[in-house]
Symmetry: C2
Subunit: 473 residues, 2 copies
């Protein structure tokens, strides 16, 4: 269930509407087009992307429409009556092919393919990019963080620093990528995600004494007590008071869950706190850390032997720092059966024409070996080529393989079953285990090779020659 | 009008609910508290912040409630029946004081003050931070960009790369900070923002020839034609074809608005294109540039004499790159009439206790001189002090001054009139002109001084001493 259910048809850039009007007034509305969604650069200088956001996208495509009020608004923006008449009953009926949500994917391979009339395929460009770019960005960040956290607890604490309502999708994507739980109640309600929470400084400040605040919290929540210990002084006040309360809980037959450190040096404080807890016989009390964490800080804390059992991660997770955005694009690759491309001033922005499929090849250990992009009607290929340097190629004959995209929507109907973020994460984990370690490195990861079939490159080169001759004319 | 109108009470962190339940079960629900919203560090290593997001915040506070379905969900999360019974009829009735939306503000000064019972003041923490942190971040980015663009056109093109639904608030904040227009139809509808748009490569690719695509677009939109000229080759194909179409429009009595460059070197291409257009007598045709722009790139393009008349700015604007988030916090500063603080392990995170007001002092030219933070019941002060180094102080006697916060909500009613983002931007411009230039520098801007009255520091020091003696016990 996505949160944007009204005014869905307005969730777009204005030029999609003026272009759609142009197609309509040029009697192009029945031209059949194919658009590809793909991205060019892995975020975080990493070696992969976790593809996410598909289910939310399909929901909004299903609901995509224009209310009477919307039409009136669009009239005021200058769109013409004949076209607005057409928009009144507009429904998205294109066929959508896609990677599985949670798939590990790589630059330049089509992740989603939309086949439909040129108006419907055009109108949804902005929202498709908005949904998929962001959730993939965050799922990938979460996967990187999970990779250094191992099996410890990892909670999303980001809503307060999320980019406005982006926080709703961020928490979903965080769990797809690897967080166990979220503090975000809205997303937990919307997407079935397990909730988590401790307490804020305000709770402690609202009492005269920290010990009183801790005691009261434990009384009310005896089986889920995590105490925030840094309001006044972590080692001189917070931890000693938490130990008193843990012992009182023990006397009543309860075990305190943990304490939370939220400032200061987490390596130093966690080691000291662990020692104090253990000396009090409280080995089972966990130490949870929060405060400006990311995958690099956690790795460094691990290296220093920090005694942390769980992490609450906010800002850097839900904003996808330092990437901020994924550079995904949505490009027309075929119109009325004719493959199309654009050249642009930047060579790497040349699009790959035609209807394509993506094949993943596996080595003898079942690990990812190469991805190949073929024309949709090619059965198989012997060799995969670099897109620009044809002397760079790899034989893939004999490798086991899997086709990665499948039909997920047709004629307004969603063809896949709804999965919770936790279920999608199970797929991420399975696939992540098949990704060779050298692609997971934070610094200069090995580039996973994505090659093209000879046929697809020859279609491209043919169109390029043709275009260049037209330009010379 | 804000977009989040349902499930508003769930737009929070789970711990706000468990704490609220704790207050309720501890019979603290009528304790009167005061919370301050403030931030600690200017984003983008800049010298100021544009405060934004207030109207959306007041809207969601007005609508803040729990539906029957929400209550059922919360029951499953483990909250207790008595508290859920209380939540059923929950309304936000606290009094809110705030800076004007669009005010230029500085670290550590209260921007919003919430006075209410401890449950209502606590429950809204997360959503207040989520709304204000993000819109202020983006409005500030837009203001920085406007500062280098001067009076030229500046359009927000960001929705496709925005952080999911965060794009809705981003476009609003972009216009508050300085963009003239947006491509985001949803936000234009929601917030009354002027729309803008050109066309995408797909339009051109859907025709056999670029010239045909340009002609057709101009026929349909003769008085709003901006042609994207980089699909095949900017200088050999795009610009020459645009010139043909501009001349054809002239023959029909129309003037083409412009061309858009979206790849390649914008300084080089804009100068060449300007020359070609001028040689064809098309001095009036504007050159619009887009593609990974930010304030630094634009400054550099200006320095190189690029011939650009308008900018479309996306990713970096709507994601607030490189900051990604504003570090705003919401802290309890008074409970039941008693000023409170927290100490934390980081000295700069000590909160400033009590109910406070902010006074801005102006120099003889009407420029911002200092901001002062006083206790709310202090009439005035002679001197402003550094919070930690009391030998650093400034006399402010005789300067003209203005109190910055006012009451904006009371008993569930919004007390300020709704303003459009363009109207709020008028206030930003007025105030920006009063901010001395040295605070506007991109590199090492001068720090604007915010000082405290002697009384407020003595309240703080008194509580600190008291807390330290308790810790020693």
């Amino acid at each position: 269930m996505d949160t944007l259910t009204e005014n869905t048809g307005l969730y777009t850039d204005y030029y999609e509407l003026t272009m759609a009007q142009g197609y309509f007034l040029s009697s192009k509305e029945n031209e059949q087009t194919v658009f590809d969604y793909y991205y060019r650069t892995n975020p975080y200088e990493g070696g992969y992307l976790i593809f996410a956001g598909l289910q939310d996208l399909l929901q909004i495509l299903k609901n995509f429409s224009y209310s009477k009020e919307n039409i009136e608004f669009l009239k005021k923006t200058g769109l013409k009556d004949e076209f607005l008449e057409y928009l009144k009953d507009f429904k998205f009926t294109a066929t959508v092919y896609s990677m599985k949500e949670g798939e590990i994917v790589f630059p330049n391979e089509p992740l989603v393919r939309v086949e439909g009339n040129i108006i419907e395929a055009q109108l949804i460009e902005t929202l498709l990019l908005n949904y998929l770019n962001f959730q993939s960005l965050i799922a990938t960040k979460a996967c990187r963080i999970r990779n250094v956290i191992g099996d410890k607890d990892f909670a999303d604490f980001g809503l307060r620093r999320a980019q406005g309502l982006g926080g709703i999708h961020a928490s979903r994507a965080a769990v797809i990528g690897g967080a166990n739980t979220t503090s975000n109640v809205y997303s937990a309600f919307n997407y079935e995600i397990p909730l988590t929470g401790t307490q804020a400084h305000a709770w402690i400040q609202s009492f005269d004494y920290e010990l009183e605040a801790f005691r009261r919290y434990a009384e009310i929540n005896p089986d889920s007590t995590v105490l925030l210990v840094d309001t006044y002084n972590t080692l001189k006040s917070g931890v000693p008071n938490a130990i008193i309360v843990a012992k009182e809980l023990e006397a009543k037959g309860y075990k305190m869950i943990g304490i939370r450190l939220d400032s200061g040096d987490l390596a130093y404080l966690s080691k000291k706190a662990r020692k104090m807890l253990n000396e009090a016989g409280l080995e089972y009390v966990k130490i949870i850390a929060s405060n400006q964490l990311n995958e690099y800080v956690i790795k460094s804390l691990n290296d220093q032997g920090a005694q942390i059992d769980g992490y609450g991660i906010g800002t850097e997770l839900v904003t996808g720092k330092d990437a901020g955005a994924l550079d995904g694009v949505y490009k027309l690759v075929q119109n009325n059966g004719i493959p199309r491309l654009k050249i642009s001033e930047n060579i790497e922005k040349i699009t790959m024409p035609g209807k394509k499929k993506v094949i993943r090849y596996f080595d003898e250990d079942g690990m990812f070996f190469r991805d190949g992009i073929l024309l949709e009607n090619e059965e198989s290929t012997n060799r995969l080529f670099h897109p620009f340097h044809s002397h760079k190629h790899t034989y893939v004959t004999g490798f086991s393989s899997e086709e990665l995209m499948s039909k997920v929507m047709e004629n307004g109907k969603i063809l896949i079953e709804n999965q919770s973020p936790v279920e999608i994460n199970a797929y991420v984990r399975k696939r992540f285990a098949q990704l060779p370690d050298e692609h997971k490195r934070f610094i200069s990861p090995h580039i996973y090779k994505v090659g093209f079939s000879e046929n697809i490159l020859s279609v491209r080169d043919h169109i390029l020659m043709d275009l260049r001759s037209k330009i010379r004319e």
